[in-house]
Each structure stands twice: as C-alpha cells, then as structure tokens.
Amino acid sequence: MSEDEFLRLPQQVTLEYRFAAGKYASHFFTTLKNEGRLLARRCPSGHVLLPPRPVCGLCNLETSEWVEVGPNASLGGFTVVYIPFTDPMTGEGRPVPYGFGLIRFDGCDTNVYHLIDETDPLKLRIGLPVEPVWRDQADRTGSFADIRHFKPIYT
C-alpha cells in the first residue's frame, strides 16, 4: 500500500462546557481573589486536603472545616519538561523547557501540580521550599492559573 493509497480525513471536534466550580472551589477562589489566602478542607481525622472537597477518602468522613495553608510550599516532586505540548484548552503550545512539579503547601497533606520557575533539574529536590508568583491582579481568572508559577527559594 503506497502512501497515497491511504485516506485520512481531518476533523476538529470542539466541545463547549460551562463547569460549575461548586461550593468548595467557589469559596476557595473567591477567598484567594479577595484576600490572597489559600484554604484547604480538614476532616475529623485531621487530614488537610487541597483541593478542598466534600469527603476525605482516607477516612471516608465528610470534611468538617476550612483551614488556611501556605502560601509558602515545598516540592513534593519535580521534573523539567522538554517536549512541546499543546494545551487543549487554549490550543497553544507551552514553550519548552519548563519546570513542573508537585507543590505541597505548608500545612497541607496533599500536593497540587503546578509550574516551577527552574529549568535545571539538578537544582531541584524533594522538599525544596518554593513560593508562589502571582499573575497581575488584572489578568487573574479565578483558577489555579492565577499563580503564574512557583519560584524555588535557594538559601
């Protein structure tokens, strides 16, 4: 079968969604935007969970209270990405290389993935302290992308 025998038809599939952030995310992002504070949920067994959520899977109990975490954090895991990657939400490619990793906010039991402002992997290590670098107030959208990235604190 030579190459031109084949027939491959391109087709763009565009699906529009309006996601309700819900009770916990709305409260988190409203507080973050208005007061610059990061809120996690704690369950009766003391697990501090971010993102905040109705039920803690570790003990199968409803989370019971808000607790402030961060803003400083440490690396729960890290990498530097070298392969281009098109973000399906924006359709743009993210320039490479870029640091990316698991961010553990002080006081939190879980990590969240985010971008790291470092492209030399040998400088990064588990537990390295990092701090959030915010987008300007004007171009915040009320999502985790309001934090531009995390900057390592090399002491």
Binding site: L9, Y17, T30
Partner: protein, 133 residues
C-alpha cells in the same frame, strides 16, 4: 453576603484524523468523482459502503451503483437553521444514507444525487439529494 457561584467556561478543542478503511476509501473517493459505490459480499450491496453488514458479515468488495434512490424520511431541522436532513435508500441496496435535501420530500419520493464540483473525498462531495428529474 452569599458567595458567587463560579462558572468555568472551557472548551475541549481536539484535532482528529480519521483513517478510512479499504471499501470506504473507494466510497468517499468515488463521491469526489460523482460516483456512488456500494460495498458488497457479491450478493447484498450496502450504502453507505462499510466493511461489515449489520450481522457482522464481511463486505470486502465495492461496486458502482446509480446515485438514485427514494426518501425513507425527511425533516426540516428548524432548530438547526432549517437544514433539511433525510434518510435515503439507494435502489437495489440495503442500508440507508443520512444526507441532505434541497427541500423536505414525502417518504417514497424518488431522488437523485447533486454533486459538489471538484470536491475533496468525503461525504460533502455529495452536496445533497433532490427530487429525481
């Protein structure tokens, strides 16, 4: 002060490239040349051409058929700007083909294909069906 219920408007916008198998390559390329090909097991003929009949049996070959048939059903899709969709059965062939009409037609009305000049292979190489002249 009740807190705002945040809404995240997002889209999933993904490019796909569908690989077309043997009998349907002939079918879709045929449309671009103003021809209608059915797939067949030597006995039954199916439109649109497809590799397997509804009972799973193979339809490995293709055979050209006349681009004429009858309307099974048609509907003006007011909620989609008035486009007229129809299910068309082609003379001598099993199966039925979803396509467009220039205007709604009663079930059983004889129709013929209207070809899109110098079109790329694909279902849109056939512009629509119209009442047979």
């Amino acid at each position: 002060m009740t807190e705002p219920q945040l809404i995240f408007d997002q889209k999933i916008d993904l490019p796909y490239t569908y690989t077309i198998g043997k009998v349907q390559r002939t079918f879709l390329r045929g449309l671009a040349e103003g021809k209608l090909f059915a797939s067949t097991d030597g006995a039954r003929k199916f439109i649109p051409a497809r590799p397997f009949a509804p009972d799973g049996s193979r339809l490995p070959e293709t055979v050209e058929v006349e681009a004429r048939g009858t309307v099974v059903a048609s509907t003006r899709a007011g909620h989609l700007g008035g486009k007229v969709f129809a299910l068309i059965s082609i003379a001598g062939c099993d199966g039925a083909m979803l396509h467009l009409l220039e205007e709604p037609l009663e079930p059983g009305t004889p129709v013929e294909a209207v070809w899109e000049p110098d079109a790329e292979p694909g279902i849109l190489a056939l512009r629509a069906f119209r009442r047979a002249s």
